[in-house]
Symmetry: C2
Subunit: 342 residues, 2 copies
């Protein structure tokens, strides 16, 4: 299956959602607006305009496609698309503060430029704005859509709480790690995948099928992201080579090997528990660990599990009858998002 | 006028809102729930129960009274009461991180106990939870109430953004300072004062009168708070004597004197701009500055302005016809809140 429709869907989405995003962000007070526009990639740090923009717009595209999947015009999904993108960026702003990441997509992060308070407050404003914009949608289902999104936001927070707690724990069960990823990535993709349909007044089985599909897509997406964090090339990921291992992150392939035990699991556990050298781990050591994880089946397991989650995402859509065009675009987008070259 | 009804109203509110608050907070993931319950004063840091609880519950009480002002049972206002209290606490959690305050109401703050990330994430979860709870209210006006609250939240963020920006500026106009206070204090009191009426489906003029009244009450409340920050006794404020001057905070009485200029204004400006001694300003110096502000009319102006704002709060209520009981309780609560002994 090739992903020919996905780039078109993403482009189409950018064109129709960007003006609504710009209108929403324009409501913010000047200082918060400036930080938000910079974070979104619309401006440089000095406020001058910048072309390019941030991210692929996966979540807003899912929101528009979900309106079409419910038989409505994609415009019905626009307030949902804006809201999910605002929530996504709220979480990125706060995560960067907590993770002390000074770069995101090769650009200095908001907290690194203007201080923690600016990043915390800009995130706060984007979350409130998301609910506001969505509640103004010309749909009698705006309240239900907002509730869906706010519940997903709490799940997202729960995922981040768990992720941070893993850093200080020596053992994490694979089940816990999957549940964390389900919160951090799955919840918002699930909400994005059904929010347009909710706004369109779709029947509950259609909403549930889209939501479930998005949740499985989130799991697949996270598995692929974790694979790229170890074996991805910097050109594709925009991060240093072997970045997740460098940070000794308990990602899914790592957790799989740790939980599986055996000689490789024990060697990996010992390395994770050991003090990090002052100058960081050498690239040779990191390559050895990547090879160890691969030998122990971590890479194969994560790839197979990503495929399985993609299959489940597709199967969820088969539970209901969707318009052919939207159905094909959703399936294609899922493939596209999880087929990033390593 | 004596404030005989207010303590009863606050007590009555605590009794009817606390169980709903507890139900809402119980939805959070275990770690976030523990931090929220500690912050709310329900538990000690080790999780053991604690009697007392946090704060007077001004905002939830206003929310319940506003339902009664619309002729409804106060129970109609409960989801609004829970939501405004959650938003208030979201903002306290984040403010403590930004202001690096390690104590609030004589207790160690959440970030000081469990780190910044815990405080940021707990705040985030409370904001999302507030919208969620309110959208579940059994009222066809739940969406309108949530929109009101989210707009107020953005105003609150705007106020905090401005407040932080004042710290690094040498001059702040009185107008700017009043606008900042309107965001930081007025917006949420305004929303609290009308949210129960919105849930009850009150006509727009009633909602507007209650909202305006709350906004003026917020201004009065902030002026009194600023007066107490300079001339209040620690027993009443729970803060060190002369605390706002100690922090060289550009509070309203200070800004009034700075903007008024003259010999006193210049002396105060010079002190504000001077480097702080390593061990902090001596109490003698702080007392001299408090006397200077008083001589220059800052204390008198703030007291008179607080009275004027209270009068406007009351006049707003006179624009519409409200049930006698609720009308009296609202007026009484306003007096009570701004009559804290200095």
């Amino acid at each position: 299956m090739t992903a020919v429709l996905a780039p078109t869907a993403l482009d189409r989405c950018r064109t129709s959602v960007l003006p609504a995003m710009a209108d929403a962000v324009a409501r913010l007070d000047p200082a918060t607006r400036a930080a938000a526009e910079y974070h979104l990639g619309w401006t440089e740090a000095d406020g001058s305009p910048r072309s390019g923009g941030a991210g692929k717009g996966v979540r807003p595209t899912l929101a528009l496609l979900s309106a079409e999947a419910a038989g409505a015009d994609s415009r019905v999904g626009v307030p949902g698309a804006v809201a999910v993108e605002l929530v996504h960026n709220f979480s990125l702003l706060h995560d960067d503060v907590m993770d002390r990441d000074s770069e995101r997509r090769h650009r200095t992060t908001v907290w690194a430029l203007w201080g923690e308070s600016a990043a915390i407050l800009t995130g706060d404003a984007l979350l409130a704005l998301a609910a506001e914009v969505l509640l103004e949608a010309p749909s009698s289902h705006a309240a239900a859509a907002t509730r869906e999104l706010m519940t997903a936001t709490r799940e997202l927070v729960r995922g981040q709480v768990e992720d941070l707690s893993f850093e200080t724990r020596t053992t994490v069960a694979l089940e816990e790690c999957l549940r964390m990823a389900d919160g951090k990535t799955g919840a918002l993709l699930a909400a994005s995948s059904c929010i347009g349909a909710i706004l369109a007044g779709a029947p509950e089985p259609v909403v549930a099928a889209l939501r479930d599909s998005g949740r499985h897509l989130g799991a697949a997406f996270q598995l692929v992201d974790d694979l790229l964090g170890i074996w991805g090339s910097p050109a594709v990921t925009g991060k240093p080579v072997l970045s997740d291992l460098r940070a000794r992150k308990k990602s899914l392939p790592v957790t799989y090997v740790l939980c599986r035990g055996g000689a490789e699991g024990e060697e990996l556990a010992a390395w994770c528990a050991a003090d990090r050298p002052a100058q960081g781990d050498s690239e040779d050591v990191l390559r050895d660990m990547a090879a160890l994880i691969e030998r122990a089946g971590g890479r194969h397991w994560a790839s197979a599990e990503a495929e399985e989650q993609l299959r489940l995402a597709d199967a969820a859509l088969d539970r209901v009858c969707l318009p052919d065009g939207a159905r094909a675009e959703l399936a294609d987008l899922a493939r596209y998002l999880t087929r990033r070259e390593s």
